[in-house]
Subunit: 599 residues, 2 copies
C-alpha cells in the first residue's frame, strides 16, 4: 500500500497554489522551471522508494548499538546515505559555485519530504547535514566555507546541531559547555550535550558538530553563548581526517520511535583536547543558531507532514479494499459487506487526515516558498514582508503539523483497527516516530511562548499584521466565488476573533508577562486553526476556479476533493477555535491559579 506523498497533490500545491513558476524569472534560478523541478522530485522519489522505504522497518527493529565505543548501524542506513549523497540533494539549495544545484527551498523541501515519508529515521542524517552546512554558508568565513562545505555537501562528512545539555533542557540560557581560547585562535571545548540526533555513527568519515558554548568570561544567560564548529575527528588542513578530537559518545538514548537516528549523550573534551572553531562573533552564537533552528523547526513540521501523509494514503488504500459490515440502514445479513470507506465515520477519519496532511504540506511548503521570497524577491518590501510572515509562521509550522498529523496517524490506526496496532503493518511505527515531533527543536509549549511572547509582539505587531493582511486578501478573493462565501465569512469572523484575543493578551502580557503567557498553548491552537482554515480556503479557491474553467474526469474529482476537505475543515475543525478564543479572552486562570500542594 502507498506510503508516500501524492504527486498530483504536490504539483497542485507547488504550481497552482504557491506559484513556483514565478521563481523562474529570478536570476538565481535562471534556466530552471517545471521540467528541472519535476526531474529533481522524481529523483528524490526514486531514492526514497528504492533506498529509504525498504529499510524503514529495519531501522526500527535494529537500532544502532554502541559496541566498544563505536556506533554500529544497519547496512540500510548507509545505503540511504550514499544514495542521497550521490543524488546531490544535500547540496540542493547551495550555490552552483560550491557544487550545489541552486534550487529554490520550496523544491528542496518537497524533495526531502519524499525521504521523510519513506523513512524518517534515515532522512534525518542528510537533513541535519544540510542544515549545518546552511548555517556555515550563512555565517562562516570564506575560509570556513571553503574548508567545511565541500565534504559536507558531497556527503563525505555529516553534520549535527548540539544545543541541549542535561541540566538545561529547553533553557538555553543555562548552557554550561565551556570554550577556552587557545593561542592559535581555536578554542578548547569542554562539556556535555544530550539528545544530539545523528550525533555518532560511522556513515561518514567525520561528523561536524555545531556546538553552543560559553567562552571564558562570557556574560551569563543567552548573551554569553557562542557557536563553534567541532569535528568528531581532527580535520587536517588538507581536508583529510586525523585522530579523535575527543568528542566521545557516553551513551545512546533508546527512543520510542525514530530509531534509525542515533540520539546521543556526547562528552566534549573529557578525555583529551577537543578543538572548536568559532563561527562569527563571540557571544552571538544563539542568533546564528536560530538560523539553523528556524530551518530545523520548519523541517520538523515537514517531517511530521510527511509521516501524516504516509499514514493518510496508507489508511485510504486500506479503507478502499477492506470489506466489513453493512450500512446502518441495511438489515439483511446475507447482503455482502461493504468496503469500509462506505462508512461515514471512516470517511470522517480520512477527511481529518486529508486536512491535516495536505494542510500541513501546504503550510511547510508555503514557509519554504517564503524563504525563497526572503532571499530572492526583487522588491525589498516583499522580502521584508516574507521575513515577517516567516517569523510568525515558523512556530506554527513546527508545532501544528506535529500535533494535527499525530491525530491523523491515530485516525489511520483506527481505520485499520487491530491491524493498525500490529507491528506487522506500518501505521504503528508512524505513530511512534511522529510523536517525537511535538518534543524536539523546542517543545510545542516553547513554540507557543515564542509565538505569543515574541513573534506577535515584535516590531509593534508587524508580523501579526502581515499575516492578517494576507488572510484577508484570501478572504476577499474567495468571497467573489460562488459557493465559497460562507467559508470566507467564517474565516473573516475567525480572524476578527483572533485579533480581539491578540490585543487582549498583548495588554495582559504588558501588565504581567507570566500571567499574560499562561495560556500560550491555547493561543497557538487558535492561530494554527485560523492559519489552516486560510490554507484550505486558498486551496478551495484554486479548486473552484479550476472547476469553473471546466476541469473534468479525474481532474474534477481531485478538485472536488479539495473543496470537500475545505468544507470539512470549516465544519469540523475551525469551530473548535471559538472555545479557545473565549478561554483566551477571559484568560482563564484555572491552570495559572493551580497550586502544587493541591495536586
Amino acid at each position: 500500500m502507498t506510503l508516500q506523498i501524492d504527486s498530483r497533490d504536490l504539483a497542485f500545491l507547488l504550481y497552482e497554489l504557491l506559484d513556483v513558476d514565478a521563481l523562474a524569472d529570478r536570476p538565481r534560478f535562471t534556466g530552471q522551471g517545471r521540467e528541472v523541478y519535476n526531474a529533481v522530485l522524481d529523483t528524490a522519489r526514486g531514492v526514497a522508494n528504492e533506498h529509504y522505504a525498504p529499510f524503514r522497518k529495519d531501522n526500527d527493529q535494529h537500532e544502532p548499538q554502541l559496541v566498544n565505543g563505536v556506533v554500529v548501524t544497519t547496512p540500510g542506513l548507509k545505503q540511504g546515505w550514499d544514495a542521497v549523497a550521490e543524488s546531490g540533494l544535500i547540496a540542493s539549495t547551495h550555490d552552483e559555485s560550491r557544487g550545489g544545484m541552486q534550487l529554490p527551498h520550496v523544491i528542496a523541501g518537497a524533495a526531502i519530504s519524499f525521504l521523510e515519508a519513506a523513512n524518517v529515521g534515515s532522512a534525518s542524517y542528510p537533513m541535519l547535514t544540510a542544515g549545518a552546512a546552511n548555517l556555515i554558508a550563512a555565517f562562516g568565513t570564506e575560509e570556513q566555507q571553503s574548508f567545511w562545505l565541500p565534504p559536507m555537501l558531497t556527503g563525505r562528512w555529516s553534520g549535527t546541531m548540539a544545543l541541549t545539555e542535561p541540566d538545561a533542557g529547553s533553557s538555553l540560557s543555562d548552557i554550561r559547555t565551556h570554550a577556552t581560547p587557545a593561542p592559535d585562535g581555536t578554542y578548547s571545548i569542554e562539556g556535555t550535550k544530550i539528545w544530539i540526533s545523528a550525533g555518532d555513527h560511522e556513515l561518514t568519515e567525520n561528523i561536524v558538530h555545531l556546538v553552543l558554548a560559553r567562552i571564558t568570561g562570557a556574560p551569563e544567560g543567552t548573551k554569553g553563548i557562542s557557536l563553534f564548529i567541532v569535528p568528531k575527528r581532527v580535520a587536517n588542513a588538507d581536508g583529510s581526517v586525523g585522530g579523535t578530537n575527543h568528542v566521545t559518545t557516553a551513551g545512546l538514548i533508546h527512543k520510542m520511535g525514530w530509531r534509525g537516528t542515533t540520539s546521543t549523550l556526547l562528552n566534549f573534551g573529557e578525555r583529551g583536547p577537543c578543538v572548536g572553531h568559532l563561527i562569527g562573533e563571540a557571544n552571538h552564537g544563539l542568533l546564528y543558531m536560530f538560523h539553523l533552528m528556524n530551518e530545523a523547526r520548519i523541517g520538523v513540521g515537514r517531517a511530521a507532514t510527511a509521516m501524516g501523509y504516509a499514514a493518510f494514503r496508507y489508511s485510504l488504500d486500506y479503507a478502499r479494499t477492506r470489506k466489513q459490515g453493512r450500512l446502518p440502514g441495511e438489515k439483511d445479513p446475507t447482503k455482502p459487506p461493504v468496503a469500509i470507506i462506505e462508512h461515514a465515520d471512516v470517511r470522517r477519519m480520512l477527511l481529518q487526515q486529508k486536512c491535516a496532511a495536505e494542510g500541513s504540506l501546504a503550510l511547510v511548503l508555503a514557509c519554504a516558498r517564503l524563504v525563497d521570497e526572503q532571499e530572492t524577491a526583487p522588491d525589498a518590501a516583499e522580502r521584508a514582508r516574507a521575513t515577517l510572515l516567516l517569523d510568525v509562521l515558523t512556530p506554527i509550522a513546527k508545532a501544528w503539523p506535529s500535533a494535527t498529523c499525530q491525530d491523523g496517524i491515530s485516525n489511520a490506526m483506527q481505520v485499520l483497527g487491530g491491524y493498525g496496532y500490529a507491528r506487522e503493518y506500518d501505521v504503528e511505527q508512524l505513530y511512534r516516530d511522529n510523536r517525537l515531533n511535538q518534543i524536539h527543536e523546542g517543545t510545542n509549549a516553547i513554540q507557543a511562548l515564542d509565538l505569543l511572547g515574541r513573534k506577535v509582539t515584535q516590531q509593534q505587531g508587524a508580523a501579526y499584521r502581515a499575516l492578517v493582511e494576507r488572510i484577508l486578501q484570501s478572504v476577499a478573493e474567495a468571497s467573489a466565488i460562488a459557493g465559497l462565501a460562507p467559508m470566507a465569512d467564517a474565516l473573516r469572523a475567525a480572524t476578527e476573533r483572533l485579533t480581539a484575543v491578540t490585543t487582549s493578551l498583548v495588554s495582559a502580557m504588558r501588565a504581567d508577562p507570566t500571567r499574560g503567557l499562561a495560556n500560550a498553548t491555547a493561543y497557538l491552537e487558535l492561530v494554527s486553526r485560523t492559519v489552516f482554515a486560510w490554507l484550505w480556503l486558498q486551496q478551495a479557491t484554486v479548486a473552484a476556479r479550476a472547476l469553473s474553467a471546466g476541469a473534468s474526469g479525474d481532474a474534477a474529482a481531485f478538485y472536488q476533493g479539495k473543496l470537500q476537505a475545505a468544507r470539512f475543515y470549516f465544519g469540523f475543525e475551525l469551530p473548535k477555535s471559538v472555545a479557545d478564543a473565549a478561554l483566551l479572552l477571559r484568560n482563564d486562570p484555572a491552570a495559572y491559579d493551580m497550586q502544587d500542594a493541591w495536586f
Copy 2:
C-alpha cells in the same frame, strides 16, 4: 517515581462520592465494610507493587514467543499470575459458596485497577479469566458452573473471549466459525479466531475459551450465533486435564504495546476434533456474550484509567523535582531555575491529566457501583434505573477514558520532554500500551454507534432520560452551594444542548439511519464531555461541603485540588462541546457527502 492510583483519591471516590458504605446494609455484603474493603485494596496494591510493577518493562522487552507450537513467556508473567490467583482476586465478586469473596463490583474494580496501573500486560490474564468465569456463572447450567468455575476461580485454569474472525472484524454478524452437533450433546467446533488476547500461554494447565459459533442450520446474521465453552486441552470428568482439544495457535500478533498479553490467531478443529459445550440456548450466544462484553468494555475503560492515572502521578512527581527555566517575568539569568511545575503550561498539562484520570476513575467506579445496584438494590425500581444508567454509560466508559487518558499520557510525555520519549523512562510504554484501548472490545466508533443507534433510542429513550435526571439532580445540589453556581449553570445549559441535539438526531435516524448516524462519533464526544462535567461537578460538591465543614491542612489542599480541577474542566474542556453540538444540530454533511473518488 509513583506509577499507581492515589489511595487518598480512591477513598474519596469510594466513600465520599459513591457512598460504598451504604452497601453494608445489603444481605449479600453482610459483615463487610470499610475495614474489609481497605484490606482487600491493600492486598491488591501489594500484589501490584510486588509482583506486577517490577515486570512491566520485562513484559515489554521480552514478548511471548511461539517456539515449536508452545508459547513461551517471561517468568514475571507467571509470578504475577500466581500472586493474583493466591490473593483470591479472580473470585472476588463470586459467591462465597463457590469460594468467592462476594465483594461488591466497585471494590473488585478498584482492586484490579492497581494491577492495571502497575502492569496491564500481566493484568489482562486474571481480568479475562474473571470475565469468562462471570459469564459461566451467569448463564451456565449448575453442572457447568460446578465443573468449570472452581479451576478458573482458583487460577488453575484461565479464560478468554473468542469473538473476532479475520474476515468479520467488528461485524459479528459475519462470524463463520461452525459448530456441528455430536450425539453426546457436545459440539464439534471448526473455525478461526483472531486477536484473541491471552489466547495461548503456559501459565495455567488449561485455557477456557468462550467461543461464538454457528450451529449447523442456524439463521444468518446475529440471530444465528451460539456460545460455547471450548477448552484448549480436554477437560476430563474428574477435573483433570487430558490431551489437546485441537485449539491451535497459528500465530502470535506483535503489537505496539501491551506486549505481555499474547494476541493470537487460533484455529479450532483444524487438526482434529475440537469439542465445545453450548452455553444456554442455541442462537442466543450474542446476548450472553454481551454480558461479558459489557463487563469487558467497562474493564477497558478501567485499564485506560489506570494507565492514565499512572502517567499522571509519574509526570506530577517529575514536574515537582525537575528544575528548568525561569518564569517569563524573570529576566535575570543568574537566578536559579524553577521546578517546572511553576510553569503555568505544565500545570495545564497536569490538570488535564488530573481531570482525565480522576474523572475516568470516577466514571468506571460509578459504573461498577451501578452493577452492584443492579444486582443488590432492595428496590426494584432502583435496580431498573441502575440498568438503564449502565446501558447508556457503558459505551462512554469504554471509549472516553481510552481517548482522554491517551491525551493525558501524551501530556505526561510532554511534561517529561525528551525523557518522556525515551524507553529508559516509563511514560512511553504507557503511551503505547493504552493506545489499544481505543480499538479492542469494539472500536470507539462502534461504541458511538451503540450509544446513539441503540442505547439512546431503546425503550423510547428511557436510558437517556435516566441519565439526564441524575445530572439535573447534581445540578440542583450544586446550585445551592456558594461558588458552584456558575458550574451548575454551565452543566444545565450543556444538558439542554445535549437534549436538543439528541432529539434532532433521533428524528434524523428515523428518516434515514445511515444519515442520522453519520456523526455518531461527535455525539459520543458531546455526551462524554457532559458526563465528565457532571462527575466533576459532583466531586466539586463533595469537596466544597468538606471545606465548609472545616477541612484543614492536607485534607483542605486535597479538596481545593478537586475544586480547581472542576474549574479547569468547566473552563478548558466542557466548552469544546459547544462546537460539537452545533455540528450535530446541523448534522454536518461533510463526511457523509464525501466520495471515494474525491480522495
